[in-house]
Symmetry: C2
Subunit: 154 residues, 2 copies
């Protein structure tokens, strides 16, 4: 079990694309209720099941377990809520921090967001030029909500 | 992934108690929707997360993963739907089959059911004297429903 503190931002321009290769993610929810989110996803050639509790401030309980890749694909195809989320994730190291940029496809095509993980809610960090407006508290950008109300229908 | 075929019966009398020691189970659901049931439970000193799909006939897709015992207790206490199910399970071998008897506590105190796992839906088996009426198809006895409508309130 670990606590995660994340802040989320929109992206400006294309300069970030030169800084990282991306990895494909394919994911779906076995429960998208915020009290007990259960997510399954493939990350490149690995697969994980992740359970998250309710968010208190910017802090959320998280439990993650690696599962067999073939199981995960069957769970995504047969059991998970639809539509699935498909995205390419780019990790860009800037000083002591790593920005994670998600470029969405499918029903969320056109959406690109950047996340940074912090060790406390008030920790200071530098914003690269390609970081835009903060959307941390905006529920439209929660992964679970991008299934129910995808970006192309906003 | 494995398919399971189970038949469930009520119990008659107390003769079965002399045939096995029991093991305590404590379990709850992260999703009790029948399309994608997600269960966490402790079995003695071990812990498991189990995902099941929708039942077709007496057959159901099942995926089970062992997880850390401390994680499971935190998931049960903090995240799982309430009330939890607490029961003692007795395994009684009879010829080639093993009967699993569940004696429930808490809100389901007084309920005792026996299950047998088969390799095909029409496989033959002997019924011990202490096996009563079959309740395989009765949704009241599904573990997920024993949370929403516990035995003591029937």
């Amino acid at each position: 079990m670990a606590k995660e503190i994340e802040r989320k931002f929109l992206i400006k321009g294309e300069a970030w694309r030169a800084l990282a290769e991306g990895t494909m993610y394919r994911q779906g929810y076995l429960n998208s209720a915020k009290e007990r989110t259960v997510r399954v996803r493939t990350v490149g050639d690995k697969a994980f099941l992740t359970i998250k509790g309710i968010t208190v401030g910017a802090t959320r309980a998280e439990y993650e377990y690696e599962i067999p890749f073939a199981d995960c694909n069957a769970l995504l195809d047969d059991l998970a809520e639809k539509p699935l989320i498909e995205k390419k994730r780019y990790k860009i190291k800037q000083g002591e921090f790593t920005w994670e940029i998600d470029e969405f496809f499918g029903d969320n095509q056109g959406l690109i967001v950047a996340e940074i993980e912090l060790t406390s809610e008030d920790q200071k960090f530098d914003k690269p030029d390609w970081i835009g407006d903060e959307v941390t508290g905006d529920p439209r950008y929660f992964n679970s909500n991008l299934i129910k109300h995808p970006f192309t229908r906003w």
